[in-house]
């Protein structure tokens, strides 16, 4: 019997695994982008002063990382928008005790987090527009 209970846990998990990941994925991409920008600056400015002098190397790295991060978050946002399925029934409250509401709630939450992460990535990339080199 105990084995069966253990399987229940594993099954619901696999059913919603993708949407559970999706909740954390947007903000995680933001965090990775942040770390990449921060470390790239630290390494380039500390170890590659010569290359960093004109500033384009760093700018290029950050632009590339930003493009990848935004594309990733946009994909998460699109997936979770479909999971939320707002246009189908217009539900944005998800307060009922049914699997559908759980499923759409997870989609809704990760969609909102994707939007926030998108803005967050844009914010973090902005300094590279205004500051050049390793002052």
């Amino acid at each position: 019997m105990a084995r069966q209970e253990e399987r229940v846990e594993a099954k619901t998990f696999s059913e919603e695994q993708s949407s559970l990941w999706m909740i954390a994925l947007g903000p995680t991409i933001w965090a990775v982008h942040f770390i990449v920008c921060y470390s790239a600056t630290a390494v380039v400015c500390a170890k590659l002063q010569g290359l960093a002098a004109d500033g384009w190397l760093l700018q290029g790295l950050i632009a590339g990382a930003t493009a990848v991060a935004l594309a990733g978050i946009a994909w998460v946002g699109w997936r979770s928008w479909r999971q939320w399925d707002f246009l189908d029934d217009g539900d944005h409250v998800h307060h009922q005790a049914v699997s559908e509401h759980r499923h759409e709630f997870l989609g809704h939450a990760s969609f909102l987090l994707a939007c926030l992460s998108f803005v967050g990535v844009l914010y973090v990339a902005l300094p590279a527009v205004f500051v050049r080199g390793c002052l």
Partner: protein, 874 residues
């Protein structure tokens, strides 16, 4: 507005629109779950009802007399915890008052510079580590089981252990001020001031607080597992009370924020005690590494205390407005989003340290971005109040005050996040004003609101609305009189942490006003404290749900029989008391789950993470003294080294480990007398589960996540030294011996493999093979660990000579200590198998240990790669 108009009707109609019933649930439980309306409507046999209530009362009875202190139930531990934190807060407040007296007039000689240094250091440290964080844990331990309709937390003895650690550590740290030996370097202990400081103050701070951090991580594990696994049946993840969401996020933040500080403490104490030069620039170290590690902890920490307090607002506001929260998903967004973004802010405390302008920009941008989710939740609260019918209860008054003050603090935060502004006011009273505005508004007032709001639940009495309003207006007005002028004193250039100042440069009046205001705040707190503790014996009990709230904590019986809930309900709504009209009657009748305690054991229900399908009837620990002993010896292991006395510290450490092993052996994962039991409504669940369905497995997973973060912080240190200095590793430095470290790592990897093999073999019935695998694994662990340590010893790496060998040794020592624990676990499982505690059927210990070893395998390989391969590459 749909959530106002189409609430679920309660009962099964609410589920009619569902796409599918949970197939998995039906599969495991047949027709018994979810319960049908006719099952819920069936009358309860009155004889059984009375007999079962008596059995339940007997099992959950709080011990009396001096044995009262052996209680582990969340209501007792939570009460002690919160009162202790409140007492420490009052002590820290007295220190603040004394400092304000000293600063009232220029050139004052009320206290000496050294005393002043001790006071401000202790005021900050105590408010943060002895009040704000523990208060969150205390309130959550008190509230969470009730919000979730659970009988107790999943690991009640762990909470008790955490509390006793906190009490011992707190008294030790705070008491140092009374003897004039307190730490003097400020609550963030910057080296080299702190590493070079005379006396034992810095050691007290480091070791005492490391001890308390352990208690915080224990609480975080408890709370996360509580939210994920101890919800009532039916409370799917989209129906959780918002407080639970916040606790989940904050628990996660603790796991990633505290470990860097623990790693920093580890390095710091190695420098203080053994002269390993991590922060000493003359031998390649870098004091800025401490600032990074401290603030990677320190900034999320601000949100760690803010979010759970604002979570109280998320409970008070819907009740005050008498309607569901507006924008549940938006608040979840804001909690999760703030949790993540708050980790990208740490260097805004380091704007003046000479980081590249571009780096400053990243942290500045992230600091501005965090305003978005923080603002979203405040607007969600306001929207709820606007569309509902808000009543001006005392808790609501405090929430309103907190929002006003927090918004003001948030706005100065937006200013300070801009580096040029920060350069101007860094380390001035402007910062003091800003941080007090955010913390008073974001933490102190919401917690006071929570105390007024939940007091009838905690004590079954009411606090006085008149005194409540007095306390509010005194502290609100006094607060603004104290801290508003500090913005101007700061802009006029007065630095923080000076014990006195010259007259006639415009600082006299603002300081005098601030001092006067501080006494008004103190008066407010005295009124509050009196209202809190004044005897209320003659006051009649309030109604069960005095605010007409919608969540489960208000189903508690009055007077409190100690059992939490009479029976654990089947929940179908975010506000079950509003939406499920028969819920309370059925709970009281014992109609729902676990309404009995036939075997005379304390039990609570474990459910699945997403849909809260019942999976286990968990036996939890009852009153015990082992937690006190374990905490006492753990305390010894941390406190003796402060006096540089090591042998008793080692003895204490060994005894603490022995206590924990005894506690686990006698109290956890014991094979039950039967495999499953009927828990009511025809539902049968197992008493024992292992692997990912078991709370213990989740506890291990979460603990190891924190541990891995601490290890990652050490590795970050290695990379940090490489980027920050030109000679890391220095030219011609000795490296670890590859021919020792790699065979050692291979042996440990084999030990990891054997542990996993043992789990599989044991489950398949191969008990003998599992025992052999475990024994061989333990031997390999010892040999592999010795080989790894020897690889550095044989190369003659001297940790005091330079930061490079010191870092290598720190990584190896950290790994070795964890491997020693891993070896004890392997032997524990072996002993379990030999003495019949661990069988093919009941193998939770082995699941948890092999999970631990998954982390160990990764740790060993990363450690070997970083100390051997990397230095040769760069």
């Amino acid at each position: 507005m749909t959530d106002a108009t189409d609430r679920p009707a309660g009962g099964r109609e609410g589920r009619a629109g569902g796409r599918e019933e949970p197939r998995d649930a039906a599969e495991a439980h047949g027709d018994a779950y979810p319960p049908s309306r006719s099952m819920l409507n069936a009358p309860v046999d009155p004889d059984w009802q009375k007999a079962s209530a008596d059995r339940l009362r007997e099992v959950w009875k709080t011990p009396t007399g001096w044995r009262y202190w052996s209680a582990v139930n969340n209501s007792e531990v939570g009460t002690w915890y919160s009162l202790t934190a409140f007492f420490f807060m009052l002590c820290a407040g007295v220190l603040a008052l004394l400092m304000r007296v000293q600063l009232a007039v220029p050139g004052n000689t009320f206290i000496s510079a050294d005393t002043f240094n001790q006071f401000f250091t202790m005021h900050g440290s105590a408010m943060m580590f002895l009040f704000a964080v523990p208060m969150f844990e205390a309130l959550s331990i008190l509230l969470l089981p009730a919000l979730l309709g659970a009988r107790d937390m999943p690991f009640p003895r762990l909470s008790a252990y955490g509390f006793w650690c906190f009490l011992i550590g707190g008294i030790f740290v705070l008491g140092s001020v009374l003897f004039g030996v307190g730490p003097t370097s400020g609550w963030f202990m910057y080296p080299p001031l702190a590493t070079k400081s005379e006396g034992m103050g810095a050691d007290i701070w480091l070791l005492g607080l490391s001890f308390i951090e352990v208690a915080s991580i224990a609480a975080a594990v408890e709370l996360i597992v509580g939210v994920l696994k101890c919800r009532p049946p039916g409370m799917r993840i989209n129906l959780m009370p918002l407080y639970a969401w916040y606790v989940l996020v904050v628990g996660g933040m603790i796991l990633f924020a505290f470990p860097p500080l623990i790693a920093g403490d580890f390095l710091f104490e190695l420098e203080r005690s053994f002269d390993w030069p991590f922060f000493d620039p003359e031998r390649g170290g870098d004091p800025l590494l401490w600032q990074h590690l401290f603030w990677i902890f320190g900034h999320p920490e601000v949100y760690i205390i803010f979010l759970p307090s604002i979570a109280i607002a998320a409970m008070v506001v819907p009740t005050a407005a008498q309607r569901p929260i507006f924008g549940y998903s938006w608040i979840v967004l804001s909690a999760v989003g703030t949790g993540f973004l708050s980790f990208g802010l740490w260097a805004h405390h380091m704007f003046t340290t000479g980081l590249p302008a571009l780096s400053l920009g990243f942290f500045s941008a992230a600091s501005e971005a965090v305003v978005i989710p923080t603002g979203v939740q405040i607007f969600a609260f306001l929207a709820t109040l606007i569309v509902g019918r808000a009543t001006w209860s005392v808790p609501m008054l405090y929430i309103a005050g907190s929002l006003a003050i927090f918004t003001a603090g948030g706005l100065t935060g937006v200013m300070l996040a801009l580096a040029p502004m920060d350069w101007q006011v860094h380390d001035t009273y402007f910062i003091v004003a800003h941080l007090h505005y955010t913390i008073f508004g974001g933490m102190v007032f919401p917690v006071m609101a929570g105390v007024y709001y939940f007091y009838p639940f905690f004590t079954k009495k009411m606090m006085s609305p008149i005194l409540g309003r007095w306390a509010f207006w005194l502290s609100f007005v006094g607060f603004n009189i104290t801290f508003l002028p500090m913005h101007f004193t700061g802009l006029m250039g007065m630095p923080r942490r000076v014990y006195t100042y010259p007259g006639g440069i415009g600082w006299d009046w603002p300081n005098l006003i601030s001092t006067a205001g501080a006494f008004v705040v103190a008066a407010g707190f005295l009124v509050f404290a009196w209202d809190l503790v004044r005897p209320k014996g003659r006051q009649p009990h309030p109604p069960r749900n005095p605010w007409n709230a919608g969540t489960l904590e208000w189903t508690h019986d009055i007077p409190d029989p100690g059992w939490g809930v009479r029976s654990i309900p089947y929940v179908e709504s975010r506000y079950p008391l509003w939406d499920q009209p028969k819920l309370v009657d059925r709970m009281d009748a014992g109609r729902y789950y676990l309404g009995d305690a036939e075997e005379g054991k304390r039990e609570t229900l474990v459910t699945t993470v997403l849909d809260a399908v019942p999976v286990q009837c968990l036996r939890v620990g009852g009153p015990t003294w082992i937690t006190h002993l374990a905490a006492l010896f753990t305390g010894g292991a941390f406190i003796f080294p402060t006096f540089h006395i090591y042998p008793p510290a080692i003895v204490c450490g060994v005894l603490a480990v022995a206590c924990v092993i005894w506690w686990l052996w006698t109290g956890t994962a014991r094979p039950p007398e039967k495999t499953e039991k009927e828990i009511g409504l025809g539902l049968k669940v197992p008493i024992y589960v292992s692997g990912p369905a078991a709370p213990g497995w989740w506890g291990m997973w979460i603990t190891m996540l924190a541990d891995a973060t601490a290890f990652a912080s050490l590795i970050f240190g290695f990379f940090y030294y490489w980027t920050s200095s030109a000679d890391f590793p220095p030219e011609g430095a000795a490296h670890v011996v590859s021919t020792w470290i790699w065979p050692g790592a291979a042996g440990l990897a084999a030990s990891w493999g054997l542990t996993r093999l043992a789990r599989r073999a044991n489950r398949a019935g191969g008990v003998r093979a599992a025992r052999i695998a475990l024994a061989a694994a333990a031997v390999l662990t010892v040999a592999g660990t010795a080989a790894m340590l020897w690889s550095a010893q044989a190369a003659g790496l001297d940790p005091t000579s330079h930061v490079y060998p010191a870092t290598v040794w720190a990584i190896l020592v950290w790994t070795a200590v964890h491997l020693a624990a891993g070896c004890v676990m392997q032997l524990y499982c072996l002993a379990g198998s030999l003495f019949g505690k661990l069988t093919p059927e009941y193998d939770a210990d082995l699941w948890n240990v092999s999970l631990y070893w998954n982390f160990m395998g990764a740790t060993v390989l990363v450690a070997a790669a970083v100390v051997d391969l990397l230095p040769r590459m760069v």
